[in-house]
């Protein structure tokens, strides 16, 4: 449980960080909250020669509303997400999800951007960002660019980030007022990754579902957007038959690993159960 030798860098600006990463090459890793990377280093599953710590860069933190978009700095901690009034008012599902990540101590250190960028399929925020249709702003040696969350995740720990690029902030379109939402996570104990989890955002009008979006956590090597499941709901009253169809559509796109959380068949079914329960809760919260 002792990491190998590494050099530590703490740049003060994003430009310095990008330059450092370019200069140090593939043997450098970005350090945000460290709660995914450091355990890997301690077990020597990761042994970077250099760590570039982003915590010295002032403008990577914070939550702001610009028109109908919410912008969250990558180094904002999970705790800050939970404490944010703006989030509670506009996109409460983010705080609800944060509360289910790890434990309070980790949430004080663990960052939103770290949870999104390291590509661990067990992380909770990526599926939620797929569900919300978020866009990631990244900065690299070639300048800045925008990547849709839905295009970001390529495989386990494999994302669209090029080496030297840093996730700086995330833009989230604010869901319609009165939307229903829920993040349902099945886990073995506090601090665990999900056996399966589902993020659901819906809008309702006159008892009918007018829009639906569903993300799934930890049931494939990437977070999943369950578009088929969402499509099965739009235009319905979320009656039993439609929900059954959505659950089935969610289950079929999963391909979980068998691990200590259970065999693949179980985790697939749990993805379905989480979708069903999240839908029930979202519906009870939706106005219209």
């Amino acid at each position: 449980m002792i990491p190998g030798t590494f050099d530590y860098h703490r740049p003060a600006t994003i430009e310095d960080a990008v330059a450092l990463l370019s200069r140090l090459g593939e043997d450098a890793n970005i350090l945000a909250g460290g709660h995914s990377l450091i355990p890997l280093m301690k077990t020597r599953l990761a042994s970077p020669d250099h760590l570039v710590d982003l915590s010295g860069i002032g403008n990577l933190k914070g939550i702001k509303v610009e028109g109908d978009t919410l912008i969250i700095g990558a180094m904002t901690t999970q705790f800050e997400l939970i404490a944010s009034e703006a989030l509670e008012r506009h996109v409460p599902i983010i705080a609800e999800t944060s509360r289910l990540i790890a434990d309070p101590q980790i949430r004080y250190k663990g960052t939103f951007g770290g949870n999104l960028a390291n590509g661990d399929p067990g992380n909770d925020m990526p599926a939620l960002m797929l569900c919300l249709g978020a866009t990631y702003s990244v900065t690299g040696p070639e300048g800045s660019r925008q990547i849709a969350a839905r295009d970001f995740y390529q495989g386990a720990y494999f994302t669209s980030l090029e080496h030297g690029e840093i996730l700086t902030s995330v833009s989230i379109p604010i869901p319609a007022a009165g939307h229903g939402y829920a993040y349902e996570k099945l886990k073995r104990k506090v601090g665990d990754y999900a056996t399966a989890a589902a993020a659901v955002v819906i809008t309702m009008a006159d008892g009918k579902c007018t829009s639906a979006s569903i993300g799934l956590t930890n049931v494939s090597d990437t977070p999943l957007l369950a578009s088929g499941a969402a499509a099965a709901l739009v235009g319905t009253s979320l009656d039993r038959t439609s929900v059954d169809a959505a659950v089935l559509a969610a289950e079929v796109i999963t391909s979980p690993a068998s691990d200590m959380r259970g065999p693949a068949a179980y985790r697939t079914k749990m993805a379905g159960v989480m979708v069903r329960r999240a839908l029930e809760r979202a519906q009870s919260r939706a106005k219209g």
Partner: protein
Amino acid sequence: MNDQTKIDQDRAERTEKLQGMGCKRKRVEDVRFTQGKGSYVDDLKLPGMLFGDFVRSPHAHARIKSIDTSRAKALPGVVAVLTAADLKPLGLHYMPTLAGDVQAVLAEEKVLFQNQEVAFVIAEDRYIASDATELVDVEYEALPCIVDPFKSMLPDAPILREDIQDKMEGAHGPRKHPNHIFEWKIGDKEATDAVFANADVTIKEMLVDHRTHPSPLETCQSVASFDKVKGELTLWGTFQAPHVIRTVVSLISGLPEHKIHVIAPDIGGGFGNKVGAYAGYVCSVVGSIVLGVPVKWVEDRMENLSATSFARDYHMTTELAATKDGRIQAMRVHVLADHGAFDACADPSKWPAGFMNICTGSYDIPTAHLAVDGVYTNKASGGVAYRCSFRVTEAAFAIERAVELLAQKLGMDAAELRIKNFIKPEQFPYQSALGWEYDSGDYHTAMKKAMDTIGYTELREEQAKKREAFKRGETRELMGIGISFFTEIVGAGPAKNCDILGIAMFDSAEIRIHPTGSVIARMGTKSQGQGHETTYAQIIATEIGIPADDIMVEEGNTDTAPYGLGTYGSRSTPVAGAATAVAARKIKAKAQMIAAHMMEVHEGDLEWDVDRFRVKGLPEKFKTMKEIAWAAYNAPPPNMEPGLEAVNYYEPPNMTYPFGAYFCVMDIDVDTGVAKTRRFYALDDCGTRINPMIIEGQVHGGLTEAFACAMGQEIRYDEQGNVMGASFMDFFLPTAVETPHWETDHTVTPSPHHPIGAKGVGESPHVGGVPCFSNAVNDAYAFLGAGHIQMPHDAWRLWTVGEKLGLHT
């Protein structure tokens, strides 16, 4: 206020001031623990100290073709790299286990389990040591491995232990196969078979108490410091039994025992994991002897979970025979015991299956037979008693599950069946069919109190309604009611049947009263969190009338503490606690003579009054213990040697038999398999209660570990012998969030043979808790025809039960 009231009040005040037995004295050790000021092995820093770290096997079974340490040795800061080739000339490449086997310290020709120790790197700091382990090049040739114990004794099974391949006589009799360790049998087989052949009703089930790990928060560790000039070795370590370690070190190193100083400082939990000897201890000692400087070894979490002693892995074919009306006539059990690669059980030497023969439980079962076969597999070695007396959790699990299965077959209520078969109060001392003499018990009273408190009848009514509602599709929740009425056997033990490597399992106390009336007391046991510093002082306070706050209790230093066999198997209170009371009484007897001399009366004219001897009929004429202590040193009676101290080595005449009635109410979500414990009620009878608050804490801890074991904690291996989930991410250690609320209660049936009637309690909640949780789960699904559901009952396994029953349409 009349005179008598005044006297009573004065006596009550003096009694309260003592903080003696029966009071909820706050734990004195918590002053340092809650401030982070405990002193553990890893806190020790010595000048010039080096650090050791292991190279471990990635394979479960492989031949070692070569070990090349040159790259590691070349790393700056690396001082030495030990392999079996270095230890062999010293005769230290194998060490004896407490179970009569030998265990490789560093693997010589083969590795036999994943993470087995292969080389020991010693470096200037632990970072360098850790880096260097990656630079030791070991070439392996993988061999087919055995993970399933049922495959160990197949004719074509690969032979695991080539070192003892031709030794067909083991420490416990003949071996039937090169992978067989022992067969242990007890009871009357012929009579048992005859009862089964003619019984009205029988049940038979394979009950698996799966492999898990005691997982103390502090891992195993040691610091060895050899003084080449004096030829003396000081060894600090996480030792539940420091004196036994000293003797073992002397036997294997050849150093005379008086030149070995073993010190167990504060220990962060043991639960059986810290009873045995480990390769790390031996390598730190060898390293220090060779290099002449101190060497520290500290295990990390994954090493602890995957390489030091596991617990359980008992596969118990359990049978009961009964009459139609529910009278149990016989029990028959066969156990296949998976010990891993080396038999490193920490049982008394004559008991290769521990006290598994307590498996007739709390019931008057006239005829029984038990046979246990121990086998080798390619897994870490053990298995130790995890928060229980030796194999008692396994035994309680077997009988308490079997009784439920019998009740189900008979169509009888499980509580009613138990009560019908309880040993009756008038039958104590009770001779069990498998050889024990139960010292005392009142099971009927305890059971009735428990059932009344939990509202058993109402719970069954609620359950009946819920089951109907479930069948109608109105709920997706199943309600289970778990019962366990366990009898433990603790306090090993009488010399006639209990020894470790030939050392009888007595224990000891030495009490020394200083002239000013304060006290130092030392015991042969070693607290790992049990609160000995608090409770032993309470025993002494009550016995000799000196306030507990004036009594310092010290354990763990083998130079100063009297020889003892250590703390495990709930033996501290039954054995060292008895020694403490007896030693205190010796002091009191001498004090009485001194008091008589001081007051110029005959000692027969004195009577004891809380903290003083007073002259009968003259209450104002007295001498307090404090006054007597001064006189003992400075003005003893003529011809009496000065001083006031005593030692007692206590050999218990019998074990003690704590018991309890536990009830659990559980609600299970059939769609996810998630089980929620709605209520858990634990009534414990541990005889005389020394400190009710410490007892409650012990019960909470034991129940929490029982909850863990039953509901998900496991050490699992895949087919290649890779250990799965050996970290706290997967290994289930419940936090405050998962842990249910505990309701505790008690009855008091003192042990008739113990000086203060105490029986031990630290392990009862674990022993009784595991079957109680499992029974609750099984009870929840029983009406659906589930059959026996194996532990652990984590969510996916329970979901699988529902899946097989077709509950997830």
